[in-house]
């Protein structure tokens, strides 16, 4: 009922509510906009090249190519979010799987996994992504080109690989802590199989901790994607916020708004993700303090 929902909402602070609202809005845009709108984000407004915001019906202005910034941003929301969600989702799943198994089994396997995680984590995210993209998505010679979809795929792959040890470490640490609890010994003494213990006891307790960090990771990935674009190896052709940002960089002197608006979108999204992640973490801390 409406009153019930309102009551639930009141539990959250204003920043949290705003964060949920923003994420809901861009989520909706990502799903709906490219289907609904019939207009092409790459439509060139020949009379309005490089105009500022609020001119001639262009809310965010246009860039020097004549593209409407607002349209580009709305259109690019889908790919940006897709990349982030897939990278964190798949990377998180793989990382958690490895981390949980490693933390539960311990011994030599855990030592090896730990070394691998540490090794990958010690490479700066951007350098790693750059290397992967360079290897997998660069044409062997100057004349042939690599397809756009391949570039997108490689960017997602690189970011996924970066996320795996980040969330994997969290999962492993949480698993180490939870598998020491006496209810795990109790389950073993009852004759529960390891698979049952992992699935019924460890995973449900570890997952919330991982989820809290996963939200933060989404923000990190969006920024990373933007950085890759600025380095020239990100999503091509202005189809994501980072790409729009990168494309507008050269013309910053004349049309700064081309850069400001993507930055605002990215910043709002990252802040919202951080806020939600923080709220999840706080409620976890409170719950664990009682235990």
């Amino acid at each position: 009922m409406k009153s019930g929902l309102w009551k639930k909402m009141r539990r959250f602070s204003i920043p949290t509510l705003l964060s949920i609202a923003w994420l809901a809005i861009i989520g909706l845009i990502a799903i709906v906009y490219p289907i609904l709108s019939s207009t092409d984000p790459k439509f060139v407004y020949e009379n309005d090249l490089g105009v500022g915001p609020f001119t001639n019906g262009h809310l965010f202005g246009t860039d020097t190519n004549g593209y409407d910034i607002l349209r580009e941003l709305l259109h690019g929301t889908r790919l940006t979010l897709l990349v982030a969600v897939v990278a964190v989702g798949v990377g998180g799943a793989i990382g958690s799987l490895i981390g949980i198994l490693s933390g539960y089994v311990r011994g030599k396997i855990d030592a090896v996994v730990n070394i691998i995680f540490s090794a990958v984590l010690s490479i700066p995210n951007l350098v790693l992504a750059l290397a992967l993209v360079a290897v997998l998505a660069t044409a062997p010679d100057v004349n042939s080109t690599v397809s756009n979809w391949r570039k997108v795929f490689v960017v997602v792959l690189a970011l996924t690989i970066v996320i795996i040890p980040i969330l994997g470490r969290i999962a492993r640490g949480a698993t180490l802590s939870w598998s020491n609890r006496e209810f795990v010994t109790a389950a073993k003494s009852m004759g529960a199989k390891n698979s049952t213990i992992l699935w019924k006891h460890i995973v449900p307790n570890v997952l919330p901790a991982v989820m809290a960090i996963a939200f933060l990771a989404v923000g990190v990935v969006i920024v990373a994607e933007g950085s890759l674009s600025l380095l020239g190896v990100g999503i091509p052709d202005g189809n994501s916020w980072g790409a729009i940002l990168a494309a507008g960089r050269n013309d910053m002197e004349y049309t700064p708004h081309v850069v400001y608006f993507p930055i605002i979108f990215i910043a709002l999204t990252v802040i919202s993700c951080n806020q939600i992640g923080d709220v999840i973490r706080q409620s976890l801390d409170r719950r664990e303090a009682r235990i």
């Binding site: 609890r181 006496e182 209810f183 010994t185 109790a186 389950a187 073993k188 003494s189 009852m190 004759g191 529960a192 199989k193 049952t196 006891h201 449900p204 307790n205 719950r287 009682r290 235990i291």
Partner: protein, 329 residues
């Protein structure tokens, strides 16, 4: 004093658990290892309550878990109902598990905070696929009632909503679900208030009678143990000091360590309290235990012999065994 020596092992048909020369070692950095339990032997007859008493670090908790093979002891034998547990393969061991259950010291950490109480108590039944859902639901209600909790109020709530004493009741209910023969209680009341302790101790007694259990009760508190046990084994630094019946042990402790333990129990009587003697110093590190008798560094009666030769358990009166070269008289 030594854990070696099997003078106290009995031969009757009622013995359901027989532990011989049990040793438990843990790696402790580099090439060192810690012997938490050193060559301990004891047995327990059906229907007994054996109390294992000692300070923190004496190895009693490790001993309890080693009996259950969690993890397997480094060496020694654990014979349960005629079966040698240390040599069983994984599946055979698993099949025996329902007959031996354990309850733990920390009432809250023994329960999965994510599960409802009903699910927690049902878990052992679910693992072994006992009965159908209706039967299991009734069984859970029966168990919760048996431990003094109202199923309707308790089933759907989570463990963190309950007090320590109530959590311990839930643990007990869970451990009884598979109708075990042997119940090992690892410091079950140490984390509880004195008034709640009494309730849980009474509950354990009741459950023992109702379900025909044999109990191993591990504790550091002599007074608590006296109320529930039929036989007491005192441990120090991984070895056995003394074994006897409770009344005999308290009125006539022959080992110097037991005597110090008995004297340390706080007596709620201001006139008596002032005269207590206290044990000096700290237990030595289990990584580097004293040679010969391990208690000699804190013993008022230690001699050179105690440093050279480890004392063996010998009978000083019927059913009363001591491992000491110079037992008190």
């Amino acid at each position: 004093m030594a854990g070696s020596g099997k003078a106290h092992l009995r031969k009757s048909d009622d013995v359901i658990l027989r532990v011989e020369d049990l040793t438990m070692e843990f790696p402790a950095g580099g090439k060192n290892f810690v012997r938490a339990v050193s060559g301990i032997s004891f047995d327990i007859e059906r229907g007994e309550t054996l109390a294992i008493v000692g300070e923190s670090g004496c190895g009693k908790s490790t001993l309890g878990k080693a009996i259950l093979q969690l993890p397997k002891p480094t060496s020694g034998s654990v014979n349960f109902q005629g079966q040698e547990l240390t040599t069983l393969n994984k599946d055979a061991l698993r099949d025996i598990r329902p007959a031996m259950q354990m309850i733990f010291q920390d009432p809250v950490s023994s329960l999965d905070p994510r599960l409802s109480v009903g699910k927690i108590v049902d878990e052992p039944l679910a693992i072994w696929n006992r009965g159908d859902e209706v039967w299991r639901s009734n069984k859970v209600d029966e168990l919760l009632n048996a431990v003094g909790l109202d199923p309707a109020l308790v089933r759907d709530r989570r463990s963190y909503e309950f007090s320590g004493g109530q959590c311990q009741r839930i643990s007990i209910a869970r451990s009884l679900a598979l109708e075990p023969l042997l119940l090992i209680c690892d410091e079950p009341v140490s984390a509880l208030d004195v008034s709640v302790q009494a309730q849980i101790l009474n509950l354990l007694q009741d459950m023992k009678e109702r379900y025909g259990l044999t109990l191993i009760f591990i504790s550091h508190d002599l007074a608590v143990v006296k109320a529930v046990s039929t036989r007491i084994m005192v441990m120090y630094l991984g070895k056995v000091c003394e074994i006897s019946s409770p009344d005999e042990l308290y009125s006539n402790p022959r080992h110097h360590y037991t005597h110090a333990l008995v004297s340390s129990v706080p007596i709620p009587d201001p006139n008596v309290a002032a005269r207590r003697t206290t044990l000096e110093g700290e237990p030595p590190s289990p990584m580097d235990p004293p040679s010969g008798c391990r208690f000699r560094t804190r013993c008022p009666a230690a001699t050179d012999l105690c440093a050279q030769e480890e004392p063996q358990l010998h009978e000083v009166s019927t059913g009363h065994y001591v491992a000491c070269h110079w037992p008190r008289s």
